[in-house]
């Protein structure tokens, strides 16, 4: 399995190279970190891609870092759904650091990822780089004190935000 999944995804990634794909849904598959590396073959030059759904794929922090690397090649991305991947703070930090590569981002779903301190940088970088953000789902994580401050700043600065899911986040003042 560990060997076959990356090879399988590599075939698909290679097949998509040069396509004008707008939407890729690979959610609920056992992509794992090794498969994420294979998906990078396509993501590195997915200039037309607007929607990437890769939730519940067992990415972990390492696989999430690979997808974050891929953001460099997806300047048209408007929706990223990467919830339920056990990415932890290490994973969300890699997304936060590369979020400036997707300035047209409108929807970000990072629910159920055991996120804590990493959310602070995510909120700050979203505020500074993604002015069109309309939906943010961070359900079932931990919004600590500093992250709460940054979230408030994001809400104040971003007038396009329409949908914010903060449920089950144990928000701290």
């Amino acid at each position: 399995m560990k060997d076959e999944i990356p090879k399988s995804i590599e075939h698909i990634s290679t097949g998509l190279l040069g396509s004008g794909l707008l939407r890729l849904d690979i959610s609920n598959n056992a992509v794992n970190p090794f498969g994420a590396e294979a998906l990078l073959i396509y993501l590195r030059q997915a200039t037309s891609l607007q929607v990437l759904l890769i939730y519940n794929c067992g990415l972990g922090a390492l696989g999430t870092a690979k997808i974050a690397q891929g953001l460099e090649g997806t300047p048209s991305l408007r929706t990223l759904s990467i919830g339920r991947n056990r990415m932890t703070d290490e994973g969300i930090l890699s997304i936060a650091r590369n979020i400036h590569f997707v300035p047209q981002l409108e929807e970000l779903f990072v629910y159920q990822n055991t996120l804590k301190e990493g959310l602070e940088l995510l909120f700050r970088n979203l505020r500074e780089n993604c002015k069109n953000l309309a939906a943010l789902d961070i359900c079932d994580n931990f919004v600590r004190e500093k992250a709460t401050f940054e979230l408030a700043e994001l809400i104040k600065a971003n007038l396009s935000l329409r949908n914010l899911n903060l449920s089950d986040c144990l928000v701290e003042e």
């Binding site: 076959e4 399988s8 794909l21 690979i26």
Partner: protein
């Protein structure tokens, strides 16, 4: 969409755009199924019309993915690739009467 219907179906509803649909079938990733890959065919003059591919709800072998990747290379106008394993499980609990 069950049983032996593993061939690719072409849905020509949209006139110029085609949706490539691989019927939902559960196949173990380790069971190399050459027959499954053979079913993945599109007429040569139809590739450019393929705008969407859905193979949701499947679990395919490495051979299948290779054939699928080769097919993707020929589709120049694809806009949507839905490869998710969508499981729909609903449970209704009724309280004892």
């Amino acid at each position: 969409m069950e049983g032996k219907e593993s061939e690719v179906l072409l849905n020509n509803n949209a006139h110029s755009n085609l949706t490539l649909l691989v019927p939902s079938k559960k196949i173990q990733i380790n069971s190399i199924d050459q027959e499954e890959a053979k079913g993945l065919k599109v007429e040569e003059d139809q590739y450019e019309k393929v705008a969407a591919i859905r193979i949701e709800g499947n679990s395919y072998s490495l051979d299948f993915c290779k054939a699928f990747g080769d097919l993707l290379k020929k589709t120049k106008n694809i806009k949507v690739a839905a490869l998710s394993l969508r499981t729909s499980i609903s449970m209704t609990l009724s309280s004892p009467g």
